[in-house]
């Protein structure tokens, strides 16, 4: 376990070296100023607008880790052969996978907490600028639940990017596959609803429907972790639903991590 933690720590430090917090600092400042100003253009739902902006930027900033940093780091380890410096030590391949995931997961958490905190400052500034009457619906628990679910969703995506890195030979391919998974994960719900509300007119449409209905069980339903709208309207998700989503996310990412560890351990890294 110590080896996993050591790799995780190295990964976290390596991630921080990419100076993402400079980029995040800019995002946070943009959020603070433009968000608070833009919210004033609306008539009534000022707190909703600010929470929308805060949580959307949190999710967007968080995406940087699984999509860009993780893929760059993992595929780069193989591309640039830096993986050998780790493998030269008595480290099992599964420990490498677990350590990398843990380190990147911590990095994701830091990014999300940083941006969500900046978002809260924006809400606080808006509250003082526009007055409490427009913030009656704001609920800090709903906000925190949304942030928690963003973290779970990003961790699932992180496990996916690890999985794609384990089977692909180039960082570009892994990046594209991770992006595709993200798009599928967030649009699948609407597409499934659409194909199931319209009766298929011919055999091709029937086939498409079957494929989409099967695909929905293979890809993670990332839109399920999107509680931003509920938070924007101050609606607190019931504990049972949060628990179910957490369980779904943890189970999905565990399965992916096991699969990635198996593929890495059988992979011929040269």
């Amino acid at each position: 376990m110590n080896k996993v933690l050591a790799i995780a720590l190295i990964t976290l430090k390596e991630g921080l070296k990419q100076r993402i917090f400079y980029a995040l600092g800019i995002i946070a400042v943009v959020l603070l100023f433009s968000g608070v100003m833009v919210a004033g253009f609306f008539m009534r739902d000022i707190s909703k607008i600010l929470v929308d902006i805060a949580l959307s930027l949190t999710a967007f900033g968080g995406l940087l880790v699984p999509v860009f940093i993780a893929v760059n780091m993992l595929a780069g380890d193989i591309d640039r052969r830096t993986i050998f410096t780790i493998m030269a030590h008595p480290v099992e391949r599964w420990q490498y996978v677990a350590g990398k995931f843990l380190g990147l997961s911590w990095l994701t958490l830091l990014v999300v907490l940083f941006l969500a905190g900046a978002g809260l400052v924006a809400v606080w500034a808006g509250y003082h600028l526009y007055g409490p009457v427009y913030f009656s619906k704001f609920n800090i628990f709903a906000y925190l639940i949304a942030v928690f679910l963003i973290c779970i969703g990003l961790n699932v995506l992180l496990a996916l990017s690890l999985f794609w890195c384990s089977i692909s030979t180039s960082s570009f391919l892994a990046l594209m596959l991770t992006l595709a998974s993200y798009f599928i994960g967030h649009t699948l719900d609407d597409i499934v609803a659409f194909v199931n509300t319209n009766a298929p007119k011919n055999s091709t449409e029937e086939l498409i429907r079957e494929v989409i209905n099967t695909v929905q069980y293979l890809f993670p339903n990332l839109s399920a972790f999107d509680a931003k709208l509920a938070a924007a309207h101050g609606i607190v998700m019931p504990a049972g639903e949060i628990l179910m989503l957490t369980l779904y996310g943890v189970a999905y990412l565990s399965a992916l991590l096991v699969l990635s560890a198996l593929i890495y351990s059988r992979r011929d890294i040269q």
Binding site: G40, F42, I46, Y134, K228
Partner: protein, 286 residues
């Protein structure tokens, strides 16, 4: 080391490019404004599932963005004293429908629909359809039902249809006290103008945006003038047992001192049934 000649060429190219960018920036902005309106109206024609899928996990933000664009589009037209065409109002209704598909609990698009589609465009069916959607998405909110009731009473002049909406609205948590019995009072007034004044005052209270506030206050001022004139006409009828032929008769009778100006630039006239009407129809003059 770069040679002096290359250095001079580089500087010249830089300044020339900067000059081209600077001189074209305004035109480019006009071009994007034209196409952004096109892309905005296109949202209204897209099926709901496609709009939602395209917004990925940013449904709330996308809804905010489209609504802000709609404000800008309508605001620019009204600011230029140019009313939207019937088709453009229909497009706005469709855009607001998509925005509320993205975020059905978002109140501002419904408020905007009430202000613009009902008051400005006269598209009561479209406004009511959106308000019904609002009432379903926000079952604890009195405002959609109140607006629906108001539209039936004020625009459709159907007090019987308005009453159940207003009664339901009064039962919702946080409903203002005046809603109780408002249906009965509306019918009692027998005149839509006062109802309009009460409603607009409520709308202004709900608006934080200065521009929208000014737009509503102008309308409120016009309605208050109409109400004052209607009261004066009633007074004339009481004194002379007939309606005045024109508003000057009110001045001659000493009921009012002078004829107020219509903030919309129209002219107030008294109808045969004693109602006061303005030639501007409370619409921005072109």
């Amino acid at each position: 080391m770069i040679s002096k000649r290359l250095y001079l060429i580089s500087i010249s190219v830089f300044f020339l490019s900067a000059l081209v960018v600077w001189s074209l920036a305004g035109n480019v902005q006009l071009l994007t404004a034209r196409y952004s309106q096109d892309s905005l109206t296109r949202i209204g024609y897209m099926p709901s599932w496609a709009v939602k899928a395209s917004a990925l996990e940013f449904h709330g933000l996308a809804a905010d963005f489209f609504l802000l664009n709609s404000f800008t589009w309508v605001g620019m037209k009204i600011g230029d004293h140019e009313d939207l065409t019937r088709d453009e109002w229909q497009e706005l209704a469709a855009i607001l429908d998509r925005i509320t598909d993205l975020d059905p609990r978002f109140w501002d698009p419904y408020l905007f629909a009430e202000m613009m589609l009902s008051w400005q465009a006269g598209l009561i069916d479209e406004a009511n359809r959106l308000l019904t959607k609002a009432a379903e998405a926000n079952p604890d909110d009195y405002r959609p039902l109140y607006f629906l009731g108001f539209n039936e009473f004020y625009f459709r002049k159907d007090a019987a249809k308005a009453a159940p909406y207003l009664r339901q609205a009064a039962l919702k948590p946080g409903a203002p006290g005046f809603l109780k019995g408002l249906a009965a009072r509306f019918s009692l007034y027998g005149n839509q103008t006062l109802a309009g004044i009460i409603f607009l005052r409520g709308l202004i209270q709900q608006t934080s945006d200065e521009k929208t506030r000014r737009y509503l206050e102008k309308r409120l001022k016009a309605l208050e003038i109409v109400y004052t004139l209607e009261k004066a006409v009633k007074e004339y009828k009481k004194r002379f047992q007939k309606y005045p032929k024109n508003l000057d008769a009110l001045i001659q009778a000493g009921i009012i001192d002078n004829l107020p100006e219509d903030p919309y630039g129209g002219k107030f006239v008294v109808l045969e049934n004693g109602r006061v009407y303005t030639t501007s129809e409370l619409l921005e003059k072109r």
